[in-house]
C-alpha cells in the first residue's frame, strides 16, 4: 500500500466538498478520477499533498512515499524572473544530466533557457511534469494534465505517462476530463461527485446508472458505443491493448 484514505471528508469553510472517501492506492497502480466540475477532484489531490486538512477521517501514507505533484495550472507572477532550468532545481538541485533526461521524458527537451513566464500552457504542463519526475516519485499526482493540449497532444501525453510509469515504476493518480480516453485506456476509474459514486474498471463504471446520470448519457452516445465495442472484443478473446 502506498496511500490510503479512510472515511475522508473535507470542508472548505462550512461547505462540505468531499464526503466519506475511501481510496487505496498500491505501488505501480494507475487510478483515473473523473467527475463533473466542482465535484472535488482537485480538492482530493490537494488533500493528498497535505494542502487541506481532513475535517473527518484520515490519510495514511506509507513511510517511503515520495509524491510528484502536477497542479492543474500554475500562475507565474510577471514580477518573478525565473528560467525553466532554475525552476527545475527547486527545492533541491539536481545534476544537469538528470534535468535533461527528465525534460526529454516529459517531452520538452529544449526549453531549459526560456523564461517560465513565456511558456505556452502545454509547454508549462510538460515542465511541471519534468519537475515532478526529478523528485523521483513513487506516486505521481496529475491534475488534468492534458488541459491546454489538442487531441493529438493529449494522446501523446498519455503515452508518455505510460512510459514514465513503466520506467520509474511509480503509481499514478490522474484527474481527467477526457472521457473518450478514460473509457478506452484507463485501468481503474473512480467517478467522483462529492463522494465516490462508482469505481472499478471502465466497463463497470460506464454501465453504472450513477455514471450515466452524472454525465447525461443516453444509449446512443459515442463514448458508450465505443465502450460496448471494446467489451465485445473482450468477450471474443483476450485481446488487451498495452496500457
Amino acid at each position: 500500500m502506498l496511500l490510503q484514505t479512510r472515511a475522508l471528508s473535507i470542508r472548505i469553510g462550512n461547505k462540505p466538498i468531499l464526503e466519506n472517501i475511501n481510496v487505496r492506492v498500491d505501488p505501480g497502480e494507475i487510478v483515473t478520477i473523473i467527475g463533473p466540475n466542482g465535484s472535488g477532484k482537485s480538492t482530493f489531490l490537494r488533500s493528498l499533498i497535505g494542502a487541506l486538512a481532513p475535517s473527518h477521517g484520515q490519510i495514511t501514507r506509507s513511510p517511503g512515499l515520495s509524491i510528484g505533484y502536477v497542479p492543474q495550472r500554475l500562475h507565474i507572477d510577471e514580477t518573478l524572473p525565473i528560467t525553466v532550468k532554475r525552476f527545475l532545481q527547486l527545492p533541491k538541485t539536481s545534476p544537469l544530466a538528470d534535468i535533461r533526461e527528465q525534460m526529454a521524458n516529459a517531452g520538452a527537451p529544449d526549453l531549459l533557457n526560456q523564461q517560465l513566464m513565456s511558456l505556452s500552457g502545454g509547454q508549462l504542463q510538460r515542465v511541471l511534469l519534468a519537475r515532478a519526475l526529478l523528485e523521483k516519485p513513487n506516486l505521481l499526482l496529475l491534475d488534468e494534465p492534458t488541459q491546454g493540449l489538442d487531441h493529438r497532444g493529449a494522446a501523446a501525453f498519455y503515452r508518455q505517462i505510460d512510459g514514465i510509469r513503466q520506467q520509474l515504476n511509480c503509481a499514478v493518480i490522474m484527474v481527467s476530463h477526457d472521457l473518450q480516453y478514460v473509457m478506452r485506456r484507463a485501468e481503474r476509474v473512480i467517478c467522483l461527485n462529492g463522494t465516490i459514486c462508482c469505481e472499478g474498471k471502465p466497463e463497470t463504471v460506464g454501465s453504472s446508472s450513477e455514471f450515466q446520470a452524472l454525465f447525461g448519457f443516453d444509449g446512443d452516445d459515442d463514448t458508450l458505443a465505443f465502450y460496448s465495442h471494446r467489451s465485445h472484443h473482450h468477450e471474443s478473446g483476450p485481446v488487451r491493448e498495452a496500457v
Binding site: 494542502a51 509524491i67 505533484y69 500554475l74 507565474i76 518573478l80 524572473p81 528560467t83 527547486l90 527545492p91
Partner: protein
C-alpha cells in the same frame, strides 16, 4: 576610520541595502508591499516603548515589529482581508506610539529623526547593530532561499515537496521585522519600504533568475546609499530622503534605458530582415 561620521553613515547605508535587497525581492514577488509599510508604521510604537522603558531603541522596535508580523500572519484569512487587518493594526500602532511619546515628560525627542531617519548620527554601536542585523537576515534568507522561492511560486508545489508555506511566510515576516528595526535609524519609518521595493523593482527588467535580481538589487541599493550621502552633503539636503530620491531616479533611468534598448533591438532586427 570609523571615527569619520560620513564613513559610518556610508557603511550603515550599505548594510541596510544588502539586507533589504533579497527581502525586497520577496516583497515584490509576493505583492506584500503593504505588509512592509504596516510593519514599519507599527515600529513607531516600539520607539515609544523603548523611550518609556529606557531600553535600546533597536530592542523596542524589533519587539513590536515581530509582534505585528506574527499577529498579522496568524490572523490573515480569518474573516478580514489582509490589507484591512494591516491597516487597522499598523495605523493604530502608529497613533498609539505617537500619543504615548507625547505623554513622556522630560523627554524631548526629535520625531523627524524617527520618521525620516538620521543616518549622519549613526554611532559605532548603531553600526554594529545594523551590520549584525543585516548579516542575520542574509543568513536566514540564504538558508531558506529555495524553500522560500518555491513557496512564493506555488504553495501546493512546496507542500508536495515537504515544505510548509506557512512556516516560510513566518520566516519571511521575521526577517522583515529585523530589517525594519535596523533600518529605522538610516531611512526612518516612512522611507524603509522605498529601500525595500525600489531597488528590487529596478533590477527586475534586467534579470533572468531570482538570484540575479536579488544581487542587482543589493548593488543598486548600496550605490544609491553612497551617492545619496554625497549629494546630501553637497546640497545640504536631508540624507534619508536624498538616498530614496537617488533610488527612484535609478528606477526611472533603468526603465528608460531598457525601453530604448528594446526599441533599438527591434529596429535592428527588422532592418536585418529587410536586408535578407
Amino acid at each position: 576610520m570609523l571615527d569619520d561620521f560620513m564613513i559610518r553613515a556610508a557603511l550603515a547605508g550599505v548594510g541596510v541595502a544588502f539586507a533589504a535587497a533579497p527581502l525586497g525581492c520577496f516583497i515584490v514577488w509576493r505583492r506584500m508591499a503593504y505588509f512592509g509599510d504596516a510593519t514599519a508604521h507599527a515600529a513607531m510604537l516600539g520607539v515609544a516603548l523603548s523611550l518609556t522603558l529606557s531600553t535600546p531603541m533597536f530592542a523596542g522596535v524589533l519587539l513590536v515589529s515581530l509582534l505585528m508580523a506574527v499577529i498579522v500572519s496568524t490572523l490573515s484569512g480569518r474573516g478580514y482581508a489582509m490589507d484591512t487587518l494591516l491597516g487597522v493594526m499598523a495605523h493604530s500602532a502608529l497613533a498609539v506610539g505617537l500619543v504615548s511619546v507625547s505623554f513622556l515628560s522630560g523627554v524631548r525627542i526629535d520625531l523627524m529623526a524617527y520618521l525620516f531617519g538620521d543616518i549622519l548620527a549613526v554611532g559605532k554601536t548603531d553600526l554594529a547593530i545594523i551590520w549584525g542585523g543585516a548579516l542575520l537576515v542574509l543568513i536566514i534568507v540564504g538558508y531558506r532561499w529555495s524553500a522560500l522561492l518555491l513557496s512564493t511560486l506555488n504553495p501546493d508545489l512546496a507542500l508536495a515537496s515537504g515544505i510548509s508555506p506557512r512556516r516560510e511566510e513566518l520566516v519571511l515576516t521575521i526577517a522583515l521585522a529585523i530589517v525594519v528595526a535596523v533600518a529605522i535609524k538610516v531611512v526612518g519609518v516612512l522611507l524603509i519600504v522605498a529601500m525595500l521595493i525600489i531597488p528590487a523593482a529596478t533590477a527586475r527588467r534586467f534579470s533572468r533568475t531570482p538570484e540575479t535580481m536579488a544581487l542587482m538589487a543589493a548593488v543598486i541599493g548600496a550605490c544609491a546609499s553612497v551617492a545619496g550621502l554625497r549629494f546630501s552633503y553637497h546640497f545640504d539636503s536631508p540624507t534619508g530622503p536624498t538616498i530614496v530620491c537617488v533610488v527612484a531616479f535609478l528606477f526611472i533611468a533603468f526603465n528608460v534605458v531598457h525601453t530604448i534598448a528594446r526599441r533599438m533591438g527591434a529596429k535592428l532586427k527588422t532592418r536585418r530582415q529587410v536586408h535578407e
